[in-house]
């Protein structure tokens, strides 16, 4: 009975989503207040039913309701409760339900916190979000029903994909969807602005905190995903340029460009059309990501489900949403280049260069990701580009951004002061060169590591100088407004990230070795002693568990237990053992037994020492923190009336808002 309730809830949600999308948009067009007023209640009602459906699926998992096919396929009696909840989004149907659930979380938040915005605008924004919900609800109901019954009911179920049975994986999908789907809000704001047709830019200010929060979630999701790949896949890598990783990375790149472009448009009125286009791109790439993962068009280690019918549905949806919005953009985007003029040396120019680089990088990733498909289409045979392509192109495209980064806060809007910039360049440059020389001795001339130190110091000193400048020059309490603090956190995160990436990439040591119990391998000063393999058990797996004792100068550092797990359904999964540290990670993965008869108990082992690898996730988390902090700026929360005093907003808009 309960699964049918879930289905019914989804059908009702679809009907309400139709009401939420069609009526308010027509109402805003016709100036009909009654129709516009439908938006909020419809959004709340739709939200209620979607949340209900979601909770019912969670409930089915918790109660082992194996009469539901999706539950039976993805959980079993031995699966602990927390992984049963994670199993809700462990496969295709449930992850689509999670998608729509999170879209509703955003819609509900927007419906709640948008009371001070003009009514036609809110009606259009909620209408656009409703349209997206219609597409996804129809997708779920027609192609991917998570509540389908399985008769006769099996006594026990299958298993959650063991790759997903990891603490990091329980929250990685919801967080990454919070980011992905969150860009729908910036998208809806842009479409509402295009539909409204006013040459106003106030909407950009309203959109900014939402975009920042979505971006911060996406950053966090990508960091979590990368961490998971590192800890779980057993190859010590943290990024593989896999199609599905790229699918989350492209919206991030465009989103990063977007949050900067929004700042320009909000404060100076320039780049208006560009900001709208980026909002469309960011969300389109999120949808494209969903398409790539779900359609099976590209094969990837992540492709959990693929079905051409689903692919076709999402493609049609893409055509309507993205094609429609790009057409709308072509017809309605602001025709005149508005805003205040800016010189070549100005914050606008710097942000524009950064924007260009981020967008080109996203295009580069898109091209690389779709390359096998292009190969098929042009009959070039099976071709794919791998890490060599991305690994060469991406750093090249990011280099200008890193070089410009220290100047960002120093550059004035409109026209920057060259002497100030020269001073910053001299100081940051000097520090970077000095540290690079010291590093050169420490790392034995590894170019990549030296470049990493130089780049990180360059960025960090730039940020630090600005922090000091504000501290000296501004009165207490006005030194670091949240928006600026967020920017400083995020930029400092870039420095930390650079250290992590370049040092771990260049200084990591990997050893693939055959080890019999008692064998010792040395990496740097660390001695890894293999103490054999024993059998162990978990709630729904058994495992061969190795013991590796690590010593440094004969002092014990860590006892590590890499595992090779066999789950209930005979799926094999490696669990690497990691001894974390600020300056290095030690990482051990258990391979295959080396002799079939187990006479001397030798195993293939993979030993790693990875200096500073943790810094790259720390850097990512700092960027995320920056996004959240900036979103909390008071400026974004002040009531509209207060805008009257804000001379950054053109008079026309202010007048209109006060009237509204």
């Amino acid at each position: 009975m309960i699964p049918e309730l879930g289905q019914l809830a989804l059908i009702l949600a679809l009907l309400l989503a139709l009401a939420q999308s069609i009526l308010p948009i027509i109402g805003a067009w016709r100036g009909n207040r009654a129709m516009m007023a439908v938006a909020r209640p419809a959004a709340f009602a739709q939200g209620f039913f979607v949340v209900l459906a979601f909770v019912l699926l969670v409930w089915a998992f918790l109660r082992f309701d194996f009469s539901v096919q999706y539950v039976a396929e993805n959980s079993n009696l031995a699966l602990p409760w927390y992984y049963r909840i994670a199993a809700v989004w462990g496969a295709h149907e449930g992850s689509m339900l999670l998608w729509i659930f999170i879209l509703n979380v955003w819609t509900l938040a927007l419906a709640t916190f948008s009371r001070q915005l003009p009514e036609p605008f809110v009606a259009r924004v909620l209408g656009v979000l409703g349209l997206i919900a219609v597409g996804f609800l129809a997708f779920i109901l027609f192609t991917s029903d998570p509540f389908g019954r399985l008769l006769p009911m099996p006594a026990d179920g299958g298993d959650l994909n063991p790759v997903l049975q990891d603490p990091g994986m329980t929250f990685h999908p919801p967080v990454i969807y919070m980011g992905y789907v969150g860009f729908s809000v910036a998208f809806a704001f842009s479409i509402a602005a295009l539909l409204g047709g006013e040459l106003e830019q106030a909407w950009v200010r309203w959109a900014r905190p939402w975009t920042n929060i979505a971006w911060a979630f996406l950053t966090c999701g990508i960091v979590a995903g990368s961490w998971w790949a590192y800890a779980e896949l057993g190859w010590g890598g943290w990024w593989f340029w896999d199609p599905v990783e790229n699918a989350s990375f492209m919206p991030w790149l465009v989103g990063t460009a977007l949050i900067h472009a929004q700042a320009v448009t909000e404060k100076r009125g320039s780049l208006r059309a560009w900001t709208i286009l980026l909002s469309i791109f960011a969300f389109s790439l999120s949808l494209l990501g969903t398409f790539l993962v779900r359609s099976g068009v590209l094969t990837s280690v992540h492709s959990f489900a693929s079905d051409p019918r689903r692919g076709l549905f999402i493609l049609c949806f893409l055509v309507i949403v993205v094609g429609g919005s790009l057409l709308l953009y072509a017809l309605r985007a602001p025709k005149v280049a508005g805003g205040k003029p800016f010189a070549v040396v100005s914050r606008e120019s710097a942000i524009l260069v950064g924007n260009l680089m981020f967008t080109v990088a996203a295009a580069m990733v898109l091209l690389g990701t779709l390359f096998p498909l292009i190969g098929d289409a042009l009959n070039l045979g099976k071709i794919s580009v791998g890490p060599p392509y991305f690994g060469l192109m991406f750093p090249l495209l990011m280099l200008p951004i890193v070089l410009l980064l220290p100047f960002g806060p120093y550059l004035r809007w409109g026209k920057g002061e060259v002497p100030v910039l020269k001073r910053v360049m001299a100081r940051a440059g000097l520090a970077a060169v000095a540290c690079a020389i010291i590093a050169a001795f420490l790392v034995d001339g590894q170019m990549k590591a030296i470049a990493g130190v130089a780049a990180a110091v360059w960025v960090a000193v730039g940020v630090a100088l600005y922090v000091i400048k504000r501290w000296r020059e501004m009165p207490r309490g006005r030194r670091y407004p949240a928006e600026m603090a967020g920017m400083l956190f995020a930029h400092a995160g870039v420095a930390v990230f650079l250290i992590g990436v370049l040092l771990s990439e260049s200084l990591s040591v990997t050893r693939d070795v055959r080890m019999a119990p008692g064998d010792v391998q040395r990496i740097g000063g660390y001695a890894f002693r293999f103490d054999g393999v024993t059998e162990t058990q978990g709630p729904n797996w058994r495992a061969d568990q190795g013991t590796v004792t690590v010593t440094l100068n004969d002092k014990p550092i860590a006892v590590m237990h890499p595992q090779k797990r066999i789950y209930t359904r005979e799926q094999v999964q490696t669990e690497s053992a990691i001894d974390p540290g600020i300056t290095r990670d030690l990482y051990v993965a258990l391979g295959e037994p080396m002799d079939a008869q187990h006479i001397d108990g030798a195993w293939a082992l993979r030993l790693y020492s990875k200096p500073f690898i943790r810094w790259l996730w720390a850097g990512g988390l700092l960027m995320m923190l920056g996004g959240f902090v900036a979103a909390g700026d008071r400026r974004f929360r002040v009531r509209r009336v207060a805008n009257a005093q804000d001379n950054a907003t053109p008079d026309k808009v202010t007048a209109r808002e006060v009237r509204a």
């Binding site: 055509v319 990997t510 693939d512 055959r514």
Partner: protein, 180 residues
């Protein structure tokens, strides 16, 4: 007009994605066609990795069966395969030839120095053009080629101990029995 550029770009993208769906309904994307099976291996003449002035051609290798293993230092899965090759190479009964694919020779050498070198001969296909003749889809891939230069078995993806025992070794056994 310039404002229509993104739209037209998107139309191209949709055409490509639509093609992808159509293509996949007719083809299993994970099944790689292997038109070369039981056909003569393509002609090749490639420099040795450690001795770039000397080359190895298909003709040089005729007479005895060998296992051609396509690998690269940038390939994550090759790292997974490597310990298996290291362990199994001596017991295969055929020569193991390393085919270094689209790799910088220095990277490849460093990688082999670090992980060990199970190969008796190493050839380098830096531009990856010969690999196209072999229909190489990505590294790692392995081709079992008999004494007459015919491809008798092909494995895509890393060789695991399971694959070696259940597929590769039986295929080699058949080859070795055939020999007059």
């Amino acid at each position: 007009m310039s404002r229509l550029v993104p739209f037209f770009g998107f139309v191209l993208l949709v055409a490509l994605l639509g093609f992808g769906i159509w293509w996949n309904t007719g083809h299993d994307p994970s099944a790689i066609p292997s038109p070369l099976l039981d056909k003569p291996a393509p002609e090749f003449n490639l420099p040795k990795l450690y001795e770039p002035t000397a080359t190895v051609s298909k003709r040089d290798l005729l007479g005895k069966p060998y296992l051609l293993n396509v690998f690269a230092s940038w390939c994550v899965e090759c790292g997974a395969e490597h310990p298996v090759l290291q362990a199994e190479a001596p017991t295969l009964g055929v020569a193991l030839i390393g085919y270094n694919y689209k790799d910088a020779p220095d990277d490849a050498k460093a990688w082999l120095a670090e992980h060990g070198n199970p190969y008796s001969v190493l050839i380098a296909d830096v531009p990856g053009t010969t690999a196209i003749d072999f229909g190489v889809y990505g590294a790692p891939e392995s081709f079992l080629i008999d004494g007459k230069g015919v491809i008798r078995y092909k494995h895509i993806g890393p060789l695991t101990s399971d694959v070696v025992t259940s597929e590769l070794k039986p295929a080699i056994a058949v080859l070795l029995k055939e020999k007059p």
